[in-house]
Structures are given as structure tokens and as C-alpha cells.
Symmetry: D2
Subunit: 321 residues, 4 copies
């Protein structure tokens, strides 16, 4: 019998985090050991509350949720952003039946990450779908943190200088460029990155989006409800597709076959630039003479990915895709 | 009768500059009014000597050559590079019959640029195929310089963060990032850029290269001679193609049909970054709220371009391509 | 009965740290609750070993020593420096009777700092005489850390741009500029800084130094032994005085009367500059519009300070001064 | 017979420039060969108009005035500032009898500087009392520019990190940090700098100021008139003295005895810092291993200076001081 894979999800939900977490929870081979939260789409505390609501929809309140860093490593230039997912990060549709704060673990997310890395030494996959502050803190507290991880999956950064929060920077990396710098350079475990350009290239056609949301399951209804704000905010700009992000890296963490193309290279993060602060810097030709430290996913298998997306809302009717 | 177009070529030859200049000289519709030189592949003075040799091969020593800036705007972090085209920038195969220095104009290149912009007010196309120091100096001396140009074509920068001299920066921009910043932001005339990634994507297959070099004309023999150093330096690394750069932008300056794809956007240059100094920064989605200032050529018509390359060495046998 | 004051000393001994710690231990009103160590003059682990040796000389092995961060917040550009105090930070004169590593506490220094701040809520004085990495980590793990401190004393930075490790930067701040930035801006407790220029202005005349070292007490003998390396390294350069640093801020932490002049201002730390990375930036005239966050000590009472220095080696003969 | 000394004054008048120019014009040993203007206190063109008015008051319209750079080397982050000397830089009290623009030379200031450096090769003293853009441009156009100067005097920068326009930067250097960087590092002639802290330390007591302005000469009346705006703007803030700046360096250029203390050191300018951009960086202890390039004046002879100030308004009654 194959034992399950152990995941920890470091997250700042965010509706894309919500979808990513539901993908993980729908995968029978994966056991999510914890959610650890970080400031990003919303505050670290609100992120934990959001995490609990997502777990509740999936009937998995047994999974512990830990609150992590409330600010970026240097304090941060950004407040949490509200233009996508509202003030609370989940579309500002509070649930009166949401778990209360006593359901949040008292342990700090960074301490929890360190402890779990020891408990599941060599068998823990870390999926990081928010700013990388908690991970950088864990590294700095314990330089061996990464060596105890099996692997790390990150949604963040960019590989062609295309930004979403500044012209050159992707939100997760820009929110804490120094943390991203520390993680890429000092985590010392296999790192797989889904950068922003890959998300842009694999956005979901609206017709598929609407079909997936019409299946009537509680998870689909929950997502439809929390995504309404995002749709209101983003439809007027006439995007031809529904943008996804964290979902891709979760799907890849579960099944490497979702990766269609990738490059294993040395990459780091600009922390000093005026225009480019937070941009990922990729040394495609080995000019820096550094060992490869990341695998950058440049394209994904849409069909396989979309099946996982469908499955994550408890629907198996693949004719919808 | 259509009057000829007037070109000034700002250059640091460089074997790719040599090929680009020969392309311009082979075009019956174009009148090259001057070469202005700048430190880059070699010193500004040596660049002028190289310019004279190139003109001599084409029997065009009537075209004046002006020496420009001997250092980058801030003094520069790079000396001229010798790893591609040797110490003298033209493969270190000096010609005993080369014109002597008295053939170089006494006027400074920057002054010459300003004067020519007035003489051919509105009818001068500037093709910049070296670091942009002279152009930035002309702008600073006379803010109206660019408004008197018809257009400016630049080989330099990158649009996906792919570098050749650092991991993130292309040589011409990295050699003088501040000048590139000034030119992109303050030239105030239509600017067309051929960035490094486009050069990478349209390199010349070796078989075509060798055919073009076997045609036996004096120009082909000259280029073969000065390119030998580059081939020695670069073949061992096993490149599957012959890399071109300045030639593309010259071909485009002559015939816009060489452009297959392009984007008109706002772009600037990072001058402060630690990893990214000299990188071009492209605001694909208008996040900075600036007006478009450049047209970035992202792909070219290989067939049309290669015909021009062949023609530039006085060969019309298109079956070679 | 007045209760004792509680100190925690965050340190990277260092011979000046050794003298500073002995000053604290010689003060009857002060109870040193812990040493926490950080990479700087030597590794964090070796710093803990050095701390134990210093405590042993003072017969105070009851004071717990915690190992802290092994690298600066971003990983650091400096290795620990050996030009002053040798490889081990204490002059490379190992003591065969030194305590062994089992005497070091298993708890991490950052966790210990957080715990102690709770145990002695409002009654803990933190004296930081190394790079500020541990403090920045404590702040990021718990934003309320500083509000539970009574006060913080820091040796580090500069107020007139005079550096010792670079032209513009003092060692402790340069070793971890980002941590210094976080501490000054986000600690949220009264901060007193002794900057490098103040140390320079109050160095110890050699004759007094030699008199204090000739008193024959075990502490004086210990210091003489560990300082020999520093003297060898620094005498040839002909300094007219013996340089002190950490001692000043410890004396001030014990007795505010040691401060002769000070300014309470807003100060921050440059983390991006090319020449000035790690420099303290003082807004003397309130141009930034920020609230004062530090008191910078600009001159000290030499006589009072030197009495404490003498007393710290168990000598009361003030005629030596 | 001793021949006169030849001065060129590069300036952005500014009431302190006005006083400085009048000091130069009142010195019988000095022949002012030209004013060259630069954007700073006002536009380069308005600065030339102001220069003409100042020359007119002194009956010296024979001295040519050249307009220089209209923007800083990179384009600049500052517009000209109006909070001190109003919109026109001379207190917004236009003179209907001011010379008209035809009195301005057609030659560009940078070209004029280069030409004059050749005409008076080795015998030209350059006094720079505005942003250093013109000087940097002259250096970049002709690397030998400075070697033909006898010496250069600069009001600008700071030596203890005290700023007036930002917390860390003095106005002239901050207005064009890159130009200041180029001039300090690449002018290659003896450079004497009066930094901001020295100006602060030698400001003029109000009683002396008012006495000097009450002497009734045309020059005093002119200055009183143009200074009124400055007084209105600055008196409410309760400064206890009248601030001077450009006057000091002019006095020193005329008579070295005005210097009481100075240090000859290597100094450069931070061009990348976030907080410190434009700050002068002084390597007091030779850590950078560079040759000394500037003499920084740290204190001046008030009595001697004030005599020159009095004399500059055609008054010899030294009992006023
Ligand atoms: Ca997220
Ligand atoms: Ca070139
Ligand atoms: Ca220390
Ligand atoms: Ca001025």
C-alpha cells in the first residue's frame, strides 16, 4: 500500500487559494497536514479565517490552521490588496456559520512549519501560494528547514518580466521581494515555480468557467459565491478568460504530468531595483555561474488540469470541459 | 522622383555593425549621411577607424565619420569587450591599407548629430547600433534634438529579461543604462527597437551563413576575414546558428516589411537594480499609466531579411538562401 | 527594596562584547537574564561558546546562553570578520577549561527573546551589541515584541556617515542592514543608539588602557589574554587610542548619566544604496515628517564611563584613571 | 604686474548666487569671463535672465551669459524649486529695465565651458554654484576638460549626511546626483567643496545681515529687493540666522584664507540609494583605496568672509560687522 503524500499549504486566501486548496483536498493521495497563513490578499489572521471556511466547505476542519507573519520581511510597501477579492480576500460575503477564531491553532505558522518539517522529515511537500514571508522566516530560524522538505512548489514571480502588480513584478514576489530572494537562494530543496506568464497563458475560457460553476455541488456554490466580487471587479475590463494562478501549482504538486514544459535554471529576485523590485531574474545561459535552483513551469496540460479543477468541486462529468 | 532617405548610423563596429552598415550602403534608396561612433565593442576612436575600413570596402569614403563619447554617461562599469570581436572590434585583422586617422572628421559626433538633425530637419532617420551615449548627450544638449528626427531605430535592450552580458541585460543597454533610460524616455520621436530576444530567435543557420560568405565578392571576403575571430570565439560553445544583432534593425530601418510582429508600448530601463541594471522594463498592461514610447519588434521576416543580407555583399543569387 | 533591573544581552562576542558583558555583570543593580548570540564577529555558535567563557570568568554560568541567527536576514554579504578579534572572535586563545557545548541552551535565541519579553513584560532592557538579526526576527514573529520591552540599547550605525567596515557603514548595521532597518522602524520601544562616531570620539588613551589591564584580577587577565590579538592587529596602524564600542552602550544602559549629549530624532537605515548600504540615515530637520524613534548618543561622560570599565575587572582603585 | 585670475561661474541664480556673483565682481584681482547657467533654483533660461540682471546692477553687462542644460543628466526628479526664491529664482520682483533676451549669448553653456577651458588653458578657475549638469556634460564631451582647468570650486553636497532637500541630500547634488558623481570622480582637476554643513555652521546673524542691507548702495538695494521673498518664506520658521551658501565658496575661490579647516579626501556621490540618493560619501579612512579627489572645507574665517560680503555691496565700513 502506498502511503499518502503529505502537504502543507502556505496561503493567503484569496479565491485562487480557495480553489487550489479544494483541489488538494479532493485528491485521495494527498493528506493536507496544515494550512499556514501569511499576509497578502488579506491579513494573516483573516487568511486563517478564510482557510477555516474553505476547510469547512470540504468537511475538513480537522486540518489545523496556523497564523503566520503579519507583515513582509522588511515590513512591506503594500497593504493587502482589495481590488481583486475584496477586503476579506474572499469576496466580502461573510458566512454566519463560519468557524470562530478558537478554531485557529495557537502555534505560530513559522514554528509549525519547522515542527512539521521534522515530523515528516523528507516526506513533506510544501505548496506556497502566498507571499513567501513564512518560508523565509523558517529558513532564517533554522537553516536546515529546507533540507527536511521533500520539495517546494511556489506560485509566484515571473520569467519574462511581465508583472501584474507593477509593470515588472508579480504580486506574491512583490509583496515580499526579500523573502522570495531568501527562499529561492537558501531553501535548499527542489523548487518548482509557476510564474505569472504561465498563468496568463493558461487562463480559463469563460464558457468552461461557467459550466464548472453550474454543477450545483456545495463546493461549486461556495466558490461561485466568493468569486462574485472578483467577477464584478474584473469583467468590465473585458478579459476574455477567467484568470487562475495558485490552482496551477497545486495541480502540479499533485501530478507532475500537469507540467507540459519547464526549465531548470538558476533564478533569483531583484530586491534593489527602482522599476524591477520583486521581479524574478532568470539566468538562462548560466552567466552568473550558479547552480540551478528552480524548475520554472512554462506551459501546462490544460486538459489534465481542468479535469482536476472539475473534480475539486465534486463533479466528474468531464463532458463539461 | 522620390528623394532618397537620409540615415545617420551611430555605431561601435563590431562585426555586426559592419554587416549592418554594408546593408545600408547596399540600399539604393538610402543615403548614409554620417557614421557617428561610440565606445562599446571597442573605443570610440577605434570604432571610427573601423567605420572607415567598412566604408572603404564599400567604396564610400565620401561618408564622414565622427568620433563620439569615449565613456558611458556616468563613466561606465564596462571596458569595451573583446570576447566577441577581439581587441579592435573587427577581429584583430588590421588592414595595412586602412584609411589613416586624418580621414576622421574633427567635429564631435554629438555636435554632428545635432547639426545634421537641423540640416535634415524631419527627414533624418537615426539608426543606433551601439550604446546610446551619443544620443543621450545630444538630447541633454538640445531637448529638441529628437523632434527634428523622422525616427530612430535601436538595436538594444530586451523584452523578456534575457541578457547576454549579464543574466538580465543586453550589451548595448548595459554598457550605458542611463543613456538608454534617457533615450527611451526623452528622445520624443518614433522609436523602433530590436531587442536581444528577437535576435536570438532569428539567428542565421550555419549553412546559410557559409553560403553567403562563399560568394567571393570583396565585401564577403572582408566580412569573412573580420568574422574569423568571432567564429573561433563562439564555435566551441556549440551554437547551432550564427548570431546577428545590428543587422536586423538596419534592415527594418530600410524596409518595415522586415517586421513580422511588433508591439507599441511604454518601455523604460532599470538604472538602479542590483541584478537588473540595464534591463529594459516593458509595461505591457499600462500599469505605469505612461504613453507608448517604443515599438518593440518581436519577430521578423527571415526570408526578406536574408535577401537583404545577401544583397549587402553584392550577391543577387537568391538560390543560396 | 528596589528590585533589580533585568537585562538581556544580544551579542556576538567579540572582545568589546566581552568587556561590555563584564560591565553588566559587575553592576549590582542589574540582573542579566540571558545572553542571546548572533553571527557577526564570529559564528552564532562560536559566539555562544565565547559567551560561556566570559560568564565563566565572572562565575556566572547560571546565566543561560541561547544561539541565534546564523546568517543575516537576507543571508548576508559578509562572512564573520577575523581582522579584529581573530577567527573565534576572542583572539584565538582557546581555553581548555571552557564550558562545553552542552552548557548552551537548546532554545533558539529568537524564541528565548520572545519568551523573556513576556516573562518580564515591561521590565526587560534589551542591550544589542551585535548585528540586529535576532531582534528583527523577533519583531517579525511577534509584532508586539517591542511593546513588551522597557527599552532597547544598540551599539551600531553612524550619525555622520563615518564607517568602519565600508566608507559609509558601521559593522553591526552593515552586517545586516535590513535587520537594522526593521528594528529602527518597527521595534516600537524607546531605543538608544551609540553610533560609531561617538565610539571614535571617546576611545581610551593607551596609558589608561594599560593601567586597567595591569590590575591582576582574573577578569583583567582574561581580557588581556583575549585582547592580545586585537592589539597585534591594530597597533601597527598606529592608532593613538584603544578603540571601544559595545562597552559604551552597556554603560549607558546601566547609568543614563554616562550620556553627556544626545539627540532624539527619526533615523532609518539605507538598504538599497550602492555606496551607502547599511548607513544610518538621520532626519535632523524632520524633512521626512516621521516621529522620532531613536535617541542618538553623541558624547559621553568619560570619567564616569571609565570608572565602570575599571570596576568591571574588579578594581576600585580610581587613581588609576 | 600680476595678471588677473580668470573665473567662470556656473550658476542657477538664486539669491545666494546673486550675492556670490557680486562678491566675485567686487574683487579687483578676478576677471569673470562668463556666467554659464543651469536649471536649479529656476530654469536655465530664467537663470540667464537673472544673471544679466545681476551683471547689470554691477555695471558689467560686458560679461557674456550662456544658457546651459535645461534638465539634469537623467532628466531629473525635481522641478526647479520655488519655496526659497520664488518662481523666477530672484524673489519674483521683475525689473522692467532688465536686459532683454537678446543679451544672452547664442552659444550653449557646455560648449562655452569647453571653449573657455582651451582659451585660458591652465588659467581658468571654475566656480560651480548650481547643480553640476553642465560640468558633467563638458567632461563627457571632452574628457580633457578638467585637465585644462586650474581648479574647480563647488558649493554642494554634505560631509555628515545632513540634507536640506531630503533628509540626507543637499539641493545642488540632489538635483543632479549623477552629474555630481561624474564631476567628483572624473573632472581631474583640484576640487574644493563647501558642503551644506559648513554653510549651516557659518550662517549670518540677523543683526549683521540687516546692517549690511542698510548701507544704501544700489547693490545692497537690489539684494534687499530680491531677498524679500526669501525672508518672508523663511522668517516664520524662526531661523536665528540668515542662511548663506554659494557666497562661501566664491569667497574661498577668491581668497584661500577664508578656509579655516579643510580635509583632502576621496569623496563620491550615492546615485542608487533609496534614502541617500545624492548624498556625498566621504571615505575618511581610505577604506575604498582611492586617491583623494576633493578638499572639503569644514570651517571658514567668518571675519574675513564677512568683510568680502560687505565689500561686495560697495561698502567699506567694517565697523558694521
Ligand atoms: Ca495566494
Ligand atoms: Ca553594435
Ligand atoms: Ca559586538
Ligand atoms: Ca546656486
Amino acid at each position: 500500500m502506498t502511503s499518502k503524500r503529505h502537504f502543507v499549504i502556505d496561503t493567503d486566501p484569496g479565491t485562487d487559494d480557495a480553489r487550489a486548496i479544494l483541489i488538494a483536498l479532493s485528491c485521495p493521495d494527498v493528506e493536507v497536514k496544515a494550512l499556514t497563513t501569511v499576509v497578502g490578499n488579506t491579513s494573516a489572521l483573516q487568511a486563517a479565517r478564510n482557510g477555516l471556511r474553505i476547510l469547512q466547505v470540504a468537511g475538513r476542519l480537522d486540518i489545523p490552521v496556523y497564523v503566520g507573519c503579519t507583515k513582509a520581511l522588511l515590513g512591506g510597501v503594500l497593504d493587502s490588496i482589495t481590488i481583486y477579492n475584496g477586503t476579506d480576500g474572499l469576496g466580502d460575503v461573510p458566512d454566519p456559520n463560519a468557524p470562530n477564531d478558537s478554531a485557529i491553532q495557537p502555534e505560530h505558522a513559522v514554528t509549525a512549519l519547522l515542527r512539521l518539517s521534522k515530523e515528516f522529515n523528507g516526506n513533506l511537500s510544501l505548496v506556497a501560494i502566498g507571499p513567501l514571508t513564512n518560508l523565509a522566516m523558517a529558513i532564517r530560524l533554522d537553516p536546515d528547514f529546507g533540507t527536511r522538505l521533500k520539495e517546494c512548489f511556489i506560485m509566484g514571480g515571473n520569467y519574462r518580466g511581465v508583472g501584474n502588480i507593477t509593470a515588472s513584478s508579480e504580486f506574491n514576489f512583490y509583496h515580499d521581494p526579500e523573502a522570495a530572494y531568501v527562499v529561492l537562494n537558501q531553501l535548499n530543496c527542489p523548487i518548482t515555480i509557476v510564474p505569472w506568464e504561465t498563468c496568463l497563458a493558461h487562463s480559463l475560457p469563460w464558457d468552461i468557467y461557467y459550466k464548472i460553476r453550474s454543477v450545483g455541488t456545495p463546493k461549486a456554490e461556495f466558490l461561485k459565491s466568493v468569486e462574485a466580487c472578483f467577477l464584478r471587479n474584473n469583467l468590465p475590463s473585458g478579459r476574455k478568460d477567467f484568470m487562475l494562478a495558485d490552482e496551477f501549482v497545486m495541480a502540479i504538486a499533485i501530478d507532475r504530468n500537469v507540467v507540459k514544459n519547464s526549465s531548470t535554471v538558476y533564478a533569483t529576485v531583484e530586491v534593489k531595483g527602482h522599476q524591477t523590485c520583486g521581479q524574478m531574474v532568470v539566468d538562462w545561459n548560466g552567466i552568473m555561474g550558479k547552480r540551478s535552483n528552480v524548475t520554472i513551469v512554462t506551459s501546462i496540460d490544460d486538459a489534465l488540469f481542468r479535469k482536476m479543477l472539475l473534480s475539486s468541486v465534486d463533479c466528474k462529468d468531464e463532458t463539461l470541459l
